[in-house]
């Protein structure tokens, strides 16, 4: 399941998320959204560490971040 979800219609293609991703897995889509921007996307979801750096720096609150729930209750 996806750990990081982009609401691509809200994205303005500023690339700030790309600049802070520690895994370097965010890229800009080849297609345009209805605003005319290339939106950010993550294809390699399994490489995401759910750090939420991208979501924190996103000015347009495009990104939701999830992480796998641990099996044991700590």
């Amino acid at each position: 399941m996806a750990k990081v979800i982009f609401d691509s219609e809200r994205c303005k293609g500023c690339e700030l998320c790309v600049s802070v991703c520690p895994r370097g897995i965010i890229r800009m889509s080849n297609t345009l959204n209805s605003q005319g921007y290339h939106s950010a996307e993550v294809v390699e979801q399994d490489k995401c560490i759910s750090c939420a750096f991208c979501a924190r720096i996103c000015p347009d609150t495009v990104i939701e971040v999830y992480r796998e729930t641990k099996g044991k209750v700590s």
Binding site: K12, E15, L16, A52, R56, P59, T61, Y66, R67, T69
Partner: protein
């Protein structure tokens, strides 16, 4: 799967009109997150400025009032005095607060009004087309200082946080930045602290947030964050200038 990050409840679904990469959007979200964390959404009233953030009332799920240019602290003063159980904040840019609104912010701070001010400093006038602001840096090129700000003719930029710190009225004043995730987290802490000061009735609180204007700086959003870090922070140092502990010491 558990959610690590999502839209705060106090932030509306409406799409922001700001330019791509403008840090207004980050700061709006931080304000909303702080309000969510403190559980004060139903009791908070915002006052919107004139400037790029003039439409801020559309972007928060909060009661809002629009003020005339620079007069947000005066409007907030009125709201807070009539409704002292509400939490009142202004959201103002540097053109609004540090230029036409300088009298209002200085006197609201001097009176120790129990309001919170979120002051966005990006060293330029954004909405009107990139003119020189009171906060533009020495040598900074703007549409009204095409050869760079000449301090011999137009003087020096104003450090608002430090200036207001000299007054006895304010309880909490700090300056933060949003140029990377670490500083964004610190900015959120500062904004929450400013609201806590108001909740506890300790007095006037202000957070100056260093921000970018990629469009009028003529830089890409990524270059703008770098420019902020390398040029603005040396002139506008980050830190807490006044906190409730200091206030209590003064009173002791």
């Amino acid at each position: 799967m558990e959610q690590v990050f999502g839209r705060p409840k106090a932030l509306s679904e409406k799409r922001l009109h700001y330019c791509p990469g403008c840090t207004h959007g980050i700061i709006h979200r931080l304000v909303a997150e702080a309000i969510d964390d403190l559980g004060i959404q139903d009791k908070t009233i915002g006052v919107a400025p004139v400037g790029c953030a003039v439409l801020a009332y559309d972007y928060f799920n909060l009661d809002f009032q629009q003020a005339a240019h620079g007069r947000a602290p005066a409007v907030a003063t009125g709201i807070k005095r009539v409704l002292p159980d509400r939490f009142v904040f202004t959201y103002q840019g540097d053109g609004d607060l540090a230029s036409i609104g300088m009298a209002e912010i200085v006197h609201a701070a001097a009176r120790g009004e129990k309001i919170t001010v979120i002051f966005i400093n990006n060293a330029i006038y954004g909405m009107t087309g990139g003119q020189m602001a009171p906060t533009s840096l020495p040598g900074q090129k703007t549409t009204t200082s095409p050869y760079g700000r000449d301090i011999n003719t137009v003087g020096y930029p104003i450090r608002v946080a430090e200036m207001l710190t000299t007054l006895d009225g304010p309880a909490y004043i700090s300056r933060v930045s949003v140029h990377d995730p670490k500083h964004i987290n610190k900015a959120k802490e500062a904004i929450r602290k400013a609201f806590e000061v108001q909740i506890q009735g300790l007095g006037f609180s202000l957070v100056e947030v260093l921000s970018t204007c990629p469009t009028n700086w003529g830089l890409s959003p990524r270059e703008a964050l770098k420019w902020l870090e390398e040029n603005m922070i040396p002139y506008y140092p980050l830190g807490v200038f006044k906190s409730p502990e200091e206030v209590s010491k003064v009173g002791a």
